[in-house]
Amino acid sequence: MSDGQSRPTNDAQIVVSGLSKQYRNVLAVNNLSFTVEPGRVTGFLGPNGAGKTTTLRMLLNLVTPTAGTATIGGRRYPELAEPLRHVGAVLEASSAHKGRTGINHLRVISAAAGLPRQRADEALALVGLTPAAKRKFKGYSLGMKQRLGIAAAMLGDPRVLILDEPANGLDPEGIRWMRGFLKGLAAEGRTVLVSSHLLSEMQLLADDVVIIAAGQLVRQGPVDQVIGSMAQGVRVRVRTPQAEALTSALAGGPARVQTDEHGALLIAGVDAPTVGRAALGAGVELHELTTERPDLERVFLELTAGKAGIR
């Protein structure tokens, strides 16, 4: 898929700067700024109604910002000479005429973008839809619709991919396929920006995350860094019939001990070997000793707590 040309990397950098969108009663996006780098998969996360879709649509010139700019390789979307060769986007799963065949849907787009006619066949093959080429869109399953959307985005072999909730409605096999596909594109040096609220999937897929809530940026950075930055870091989870004995054995040190709803101890501030030694010293019997690292879901929920309300 790579065209072999070496272009400056910032050619594919997305820069969102001071972006705002005021709808009649709602400030959907509020002075939002972030950057998305080439060669990485960036997860764009936020609760429902956080303004993810509006932001992506402003980036693509479908929605006019009230203030601020969004550029791709330094240019606004309508300033790109051949937008589909530069940027591919997948916005809704259902964006094709129901009575049109998959291949004709792609041919219509190719024609409008001035792309060679065989690109439609190539893009369809790329997503594995060739057997359904001549079937009408209304007969497609949700997974097939998503694949057709990706094929449309890949028509111009773009440097930048923007996907809004691409995993919606995919079965586990489809999700795994999508993950491999997007990671592959990033490995080729392309920019991949994916919005989602499937956090466990994002943890497997994304290199970087941009987290927004209530239209504002909450956190941006590499996934590991964002997770590591949380105040509540690593915890040790212990199950023991002698919880009180272990708690007193750890008292006086840096350990902070809490009890969860199942009676297990959650110990922060010390690592698992320290807890194990303390238990051995006190003669406490252990049934479980696990190191718990915070995952993206926990970090996300803590970061966006209280901001996810209906606006």
Partner: protein, 271 residues
């Protein structure tokens, strides 16, 4: 721009809508032609008054022109519907997103729709006219009138009919950009076209008797469907404006709806 027009024509060709509307246009010829043939016979046999035809309108060339444009009344509505669907489909099926991603220059998209629409109007005109010419020439020759195709009045009606087809398709595109709800646009436009014309003529008739002035009736031409009738009707009298007035009115509507359509589409958020 040619890429965009090609894409628009491909959009039409790759769905079945145009096919249904073409069948509709064909049926409207099938219904109108016998009626117009009967009118022709009635008029040339000197009974024109019985069917409300007077003066120029009762002449053989005028009636031949009417015969050769059979099916125009509903045909124009069908091409208008195609024009409407060219726009509303984009919103109904959410393809506006893909369309404007491929071409962020929205003015170019609407202009290419207008061009594609008029090309399609031309094709509808061509096919319906070929059918009318065949059937009409056979009918007239069998009834010993000759084809009457040498008459300027007939030729003019055919050419103006072409213009009507192109303009009504363009007008449909304009209506589609004004009312993007598919069902809303189709119903509004069809009702205004079919029933609106009768309502307008009743209103003008009442106005005319109230003001005691037949000249008021001329102003019916401001209604697009009337304008398009005036355009292909020969002759002129105190109730009927000249054909070119109809042309100007229709072009005016096409221009205004096209411009408003472009302006609205440029500003609209696609979400």
């Amino acid at each position: 721009m040619s890429n965009l027009v090609r894409s628009e024509l491909l959009k039409i060709r790759t769905t079945s809508t145009w096919w249904w509307l073409a069948i509709g246009a064909f049926l409207s010829i099938a219904m109108a032609f016998p009626l117009n043939a009967w009118l022709f016979n009635t008029a040339v046999e000197g009974n024109a008054e019985d069917v409300g035809l007077t003066g120029d309108a009762a002449s053989a060339p005028a009636q031949a022109a009417n015969l050769y444009t059979s099916g125009q009344y509903l045909g124009l509505m069908f091409v208008m519907l195609i024009g409407i669907l060219m726009v509303t489909n984009e919103f109904f099926h959410q393809t506006a997103t893909t369309t404007f991603l491929a071409t962020p220059r929205r003015t170019a998209v609407i202009v290419s729709k207008l061009i594609a629409a008029s090309l399609l109007g031309f094709v509808f005109w061509l096919v319906t006219t070929v059918i009318d010419l065949g059937a009409g020439a056979i009918f007239l020759t069998l009834n010993d009138h000759g084809t009457l195709l040498g008459e300027w009045e007939v030729q003019r009606a055919l050419l103006l009919n072409l213009m009507a087809y192109a303009i009504w398709t363009v007008l449909g595109v304009g209506i589609g950009t004004l009312i993007t709800n598919q069902l809303g646009a189709v119903i509004t436009a069809s009702v205004l076209y079919l029933i609106g014309t009768q309502v307008v003529s009743v209103l003008f008739f009442m106005l005319s008797s109230w003001l005691d002035s037949l000249a008021v009736l001329k102003w019916q031409v401001l209604w697009p469907a009337v304008a398009s009738q005036v355009m292909i009707t020969p002759g002129e009298n105190e109730m009927l404006p000249a054909w070119w007035v109809g042309v100007l009115v229709l072009i005016g509507y096409a221009l205004v709806s096209g411009i408003i359509g472009v302006l609205l589409t440029r500003r609209r958020d696609i979400s």
